[in-house]
């Protein structure tokens, strides 16, 4: 079965991407060698989030295993825009699949600089906007506020010809309201869900376990919530949705497509199985056939009864 598709005009061999910050091809190549490139697990690669300045990340502990899930508090470690463009980005544009660069900032000015700088680099297919950071001017988390989200999108939209995909947070009452605002502001696509706010308690020492105090939950534990939010958002907007949140195999990937996602992204499952992306891709044709779909497009176009 032909699994090729597209997201925001970016051609894809299959509807399977990675979630930002859940796979590092440069580190994986050290572990697995050229086999990683020859059998690259994703149809497009979404980079870890890049900020203007270097971030070292949060103090340990950064991980806590939850029932069927993982709480992380990594803190977006990255080399900063300048070093990223001069270093890792060159290698990432050499991957055999389209590259989407994730960026985050605490002001529209800084977002503008990131978007403009990344847009000038050959080989970047799209930009994902991580809007889960507070705006330094308003103190509000952009992605939690429809007005802030729309204003930011309107500011960034004219700066680039690349597709702008906004990564939505699930930590709001009505994510579809933020999605509608993002679409009105000119977003080309929506990526969801980010992790759900979560805490881990070290009961032996009566303290929070994670170095940063709290983190975000991911993995199969969040999947029912992600499916509900993907469904609510995809019915509210025209722009396509990259669905993620506990995808662990082809069947659960299909659930996201049936809920309204155009394509899916693998996150935490990458940690359990380095070939998770390939596993989902290889299983997808069978999963579609078992459910009576003649093509991926038929599943993407179907609506739930």
């Amino acid at each position: 079965m032909d699994l090729s598709t597209e997201i925001c005009g970016i051609p894809l061999d299959s509807p399977v991407l990675n979630g930002s910050g859940t796979f590092d091809p440069l580190a994986a190549r050290r572990a697995f060698g050229d086999a990683l490139i020859e059998d690259f697990p994703f149809a497009a690669f979404v980079s870890k989030t890049i900020t203007r300045k270097t971030r070292v990340g949060n103090p340990p502990h950064r991980l806590w295993e939850a029932p069927s899930g993982l709480i992380n508090s990594i803190g977006l470690p990255n080399p900063g825009l300048e070093a990223f463009v001069a270093g890792d980005l060159i290698e990432l544009t050499g991957l055999p699949v389209p590259l989407i660069v994730s960026v985050m900032a605490d002001s529209a000015e800084e977002f503008s600089l990131l978007v403009e700088t990344i847009s000038e680099v050959d080989g970047v297919a799209g930009i994902e906007l991580n809007v889960s950071c507070p705006n330094v001017h308003s103190g509000l988390i952009v992605g939690e506020q429809p007005k802030e989200t729309e204003a930011l999108m309107k500011e960034l939209r004219p700066l680039t010809d690349l597709p702008l995909i906004i990564k939505l947070t699930p930590n709001v009452a009505n994510p579809h309201e933020v999605a509608i605002a993002a679409e009105a502001g000119g977003a080309d696509g929506i990526s969801m869900i980010n992790t759900i706010k979560a805490a881990a308690i070290d009961r032996v020492h009566s303290r929070t376990w994670l170095g940063a105090g709290a983190g975000g939950l991911s993995g199969p534990a969040v999947r029912p919530i992600a499916l509900a939010q993907v469904r609510a958002v995809s019915t509210a907007v025209e722009i396509p949705v990259i669905g993620m949140g506990g995808v662990e195999d082809a069947d659960t990937a299909l659930e996201f497509i049936l809920a309204g996602a155009r394509v899916v992204a693998i996150g935490t499952e990458n940690f359990r199985d380095p070939q998770a992306g390939s596993k989902v891709r290889k299983g997808l044709a069978g999963a579609l056939e078992r459910r009576g779909f003649e093509s991926l497009q038929a599943a993407q176009a179907s609506t739930l009864s």
Binding site: D202, F271, R272
Partner: protein
């Protein structure tokens, strides 16, 4: 791009048969047959998932567990990987219960291995291995590699009590191994670091190389003893780890320069002078 000379892992997570299991004092030993992987270097580790019942106990264990290999025999195509397990949580509980005929999912080998003594110190005449508790595992495979290369080594091992010293004879043989027990049941009464101080006092510290693995408090003591005496040392650290190959950024260990290293790709073996403390992230 960083190019290492460490063994390259097959790009997969593969099912491996459990060939043999047995108790070893307070621990459990099990052997897996890896038909695909290269021979691991000492200090490297695997991400392991006991095939059955994973996620069975109220959704845990969910993530694979990072386990250092303690011994390797056989040849590529049918490598026998021996692991030493301390039953401390839901993941290790399932691994400790493995029996021949069952399988494990395995990815690896991963991580930075131990360096050979001459690479750490050109004047090195031999190696001093300092292990504590379950941390003896990577030192066992290191010691065999040193013997194979004709590098003389002395092994100092510490345990809570005799019951927890299982596997020592099997993994190390009996030669040149000195034991310390906190409860004084035999050997030296006290800490293994007492033995290290004695050995270093009789040596030229500038000609010694120390390799260590064990509880964080012990590693930190080894690190500071070596720093004070100017002895080159490598420590095999442990950290909660989700993936093992650099994807999750969860296994961060503070470096002396205020940044972090990823223990899975930049470790688990680190040089003593690379890190600020072997205790980072431990409960105060």
């Amino acid at each position: 791009m960083v190019v290492d000379d460490r063994p390259i892992a097959p790009f997969n997570r593969r099912e491996c048969a459990v060939a043999e299991t047995h108790p070893a004092g307070g621990y459990r030993v099990f052997t897996l047959v890896d038909e695909q992987g290269p021979e691991p270097d000492p200090g490297q580790f695997y991400m392991l998932t006991a095939g059955d019942h994973w996620q069975g106990e109220a959704g845990r264990p969910y993530l694979p567990r990072a386990i250092s290999v303690a011994a390797v025999t056989g040849n590529p195509g049918a490598l026998r990987l021996m692991f030493l397990i301390d039953e401390v949580g839901p993941g290790t509980r399932l691994m400790a219960a493995l029996e021949p005929g069952q399988t494990c999912l395995l990815a690896g080998p991963f991580g930075r291995p131990f360096s050979m003594p001459k690479a750490l110190n050109p004047k090195a005449a031999g190696a001093i291995l300092v292990g504590g508790g379950i941390g003896i595992a990577p030192l066992a495979i290191l010691r065999r590699a040193l013997v194979k290369r004709g590098v003389p080594s002395r092994t100092l091992l510490g345990f809570r009590d005799r019951a927890h010293s299982g596997g020592v004879d099997e993994l190390f043989g009996c030669e040149e191994t000195r034991l310390a027990f906190e409860d004084g049941s035999s050997g030296h009464r006290g800490y293994v670091t007492d033995l290290l101080l004695k050995v270093l006092a009789g040596d030229d510290p500038g000609g010694a190389v120390v390799y260590s693995c064990g509880p964080p408090m012990m590693l930190e003591a080894v690190r500071s003893i070596c720093a004070e005496s100017g002895t080159a040392c490598e420590l095999a650290l442990e950290s909660p780890m989700a993936c093992g190959f650099g994807a999750c950024f969860g296994c961060a260990v503070p470096k002396t320069d205020g940044t972090y290293l990823r223990l899975c790709v930049d470790g688990p073996v680190v040089s003593g002078d690379e890190i600020a403390s072997a205790m980072a992230g431990e409960a105060a």
